[in-house]
């Protein structure tokens, strides 16, 4: 009986952990993985005043826009007219991820390729345009593509069609946390019929309708200075800045990847997801994030002391920062693990944010460096966090934990681990 404990069984099956072989990034501080990673290590922020529309009369005027992205350059026009800006970013990032992985989908069995993406807002910009036509000109002027462009699964569907990926496809909508949950779903699919999964997510909701929907949570920063607008864990924290973009990843069965000579960035070692209790008036808010972290570590068979960095969810809302800091300290001890939030340079990308953090974690593993949290002058002492501020920190990164929470009570934690060169 000695060898049958779940942890031992998992350790023994390390070889079967799915690996990440391709990364595609479309982020406010960098278009393409190389540009994004260079900017992130340099602490270069992509936050600025909103330019996509006149936001002067809105309470939120700072955001992370993916500038220099030209739809016509990256997406064929037949496809571009049918899809929202959020899907344009997703299709582009998926294309880059497949190229990065060195995969030609045309050469693989169509039912062994799957697509699972996260989405939290769907095609709001497209929807706004068509609703404007509806009220100004009438129903005959609403474009037919409204029927397919707005809905959450549109990016998944268009990627599936574009590359003939006819394995199990889906979408998960759990706001920021959904961006980690899709990777766990991808792992499930790789244990079944799929050998390749295109996964991750993007979001893009910086139009008036999309922004107003976000403002309704009361969690967004209304500060006008892009350098002082998003300060998670700072005593001066005042909410978060919204952004657009995200990352798409190619995840493969480890043996299949090895067979074709792919060079993995790292492996998905563990995942945990929990849900928060319903908030009640007069009672202090609580979070089950700690339990998600513990589940992910147990799933991976990794001890807290083996974790080299935590990518925080970093909402930048004092009460939520406190709950997250408590969860981290409870597992790792006070100042027990380096914590970082490179999303201070992109804003919160919702379903795109967590996959971008995973991409960043994979690059941190590859290069042995922890990217910084910008803007924060000092983490509030009561949080007891070892926050990596201002400049990147060198050091081997073998295990990276990524955290994400989603509006409404979602918590997810995902552990990325280095793959040993074979």
């Amino acid at each position: 009986m000695t060898d049958t404990s779940p942890r031992r069984a998992r350790r023994a099956s390390r070889d079967t952990r799915p690996v990440f072989t391709g990364i595609g990034v479309a982020a406010p501080n960098g278009l393409g993985t190389a540009a994004y990673w260079a900017a992130t290590l340099d602490g270069k922020s992509g936050l600025g005043r909103i330019t996509r529309f006149d936001a002067e009369r809105y309470p939120v005027r700072v955001a992370g826009e993916v500038s220099e992205f030209d739809d016509t350059e990256h997406v064929p026009s037949r496809l571009a007219v049918q899809t929202d800006h959020w899907s344009h970013l997703g299709l582009t990032a998926a294309d880059w991820a497949l190229r990065d992985a060195g995969l030609d989908p045309a050469t693989l069995p169509e039912y062994e390729m799957a697509v699972v993406t996260a989405s939290s807002s769907g095609g709001t910009e497209f929807g706004q345009r068509e609703i404007e036509k509806l009220w100004s000109k009438g129903p005959g002027y609403v474009g037919v593509y409204q029927s397919i462009a707005w809905f959450y699964a549109a990016t998944t569907g268009q990627i599936s069609i574009r590359y003939g990926m006819r394995g199990p496809c889906g979408v998960i909508c759990a706001e920021q946390a959904g961006g980690l949950d899709v990777l766990a779903q991808g792992r499930r699919l790789l244990r079944g019929q799929a050998r390749v999964v295109v996964t991750g997510g993007t979001d893009a909701s910086l139009c008036p309708y999309g922004l107003v929907a976000q403002i309704s949570t009361g969690l967004l920063s209304t500060r006008d200075d892009p350098e002082r607008a998003y300060l998670p864990f700072d005593a001066d924290a005042c909410g978060y800045v919204p952004g657009e973009g995200g990352a798409m990843l190619v995840m493969e069965d480890a043996a299949a990847a090895r067979e074709r000579g792919a060079r993995p960035y790292g492996a998905l070692a563990g995942h945990g997801a929990t849900f928060d209790p319903r908030p009640r008036p007069g009672r202090e808010a609580t979070s089950n994030l700690r339990r998600a972290i513990i589940s992910a570590l147990e799933d991976a068979g990794v001890e807290p002391g083996e974790v080299d960095v935590v990518f925080a969810d970093a909402l930048g809302v004092p009460e939520r920062d406190r709950l997250e800091a408590q969860a981290i300290s409870a597992v790792f001890g006070p100042h027990g693990v380096p914590v970082t939030a490179p999303k201070t340079m992109t804003g919160r990308l919702y379903a795109g944010g967590a996959p971008l953090d995973v991409a960043t974690a994979l690059l941190a593993v590859r290069d042995g460096v922890i990217p910084p949290t910008v803007g924060v002058r000092a983490a509030a002492p009561s949080y007891e966090l070892d926050l990596v501020r201002s400049t990147a920190r060198d050091g081997p990164v073998r295990n990276a934990l990524v955290l994400a929470t989603g509006h409404g009570g979602f918590n997810a934690a995902l552990l990325i681990t280095a793959t040993d060169p074979s």
Binding site: P76, R78, Q82, G140, V144, Y145
Partner: protein, 83 residues
């Protein structure tokens, strides 16, 4: 002189449904089916809506079935205009 030409059709195709990936809209596309050009039934519905807006003729949904090629669409519209 027909009231609605293949060039009008090309401009509507490019404007509302995008250009085909393998061909140029300026090519001799009149007799190639929309399906072969990569325009699905939604795209043809969208083009029909634009024609209605531009010319003020009503195109019933079942007529869209008849519009299998750009030239067939042009012919259909001209028959409606002449009627």
């Amino acid at each position: 002189m027909p009231a609605f030409t293949l060039d009008d059709m090309r401009s509507i195709m490019g404007g509302c449904a995008g250009v085909p990936e393998s061909l140029d809209l300026g090519d001799d596309i009149g007799e190639i089916s929309f399906a072969e050009l990569g325009y699905d039934s939604l795209a043809v519905l969208e083009m029909a809506a634009r024609i209605q807006q531009r010319l003020g003729v009503r195109i019933p949904d079942d007529a869209v079935e008849e519009m299998r090629t750009p030239q067939a669409a042009v012919d259909y519209v001209n028959r409606r205009l002449a009627a």
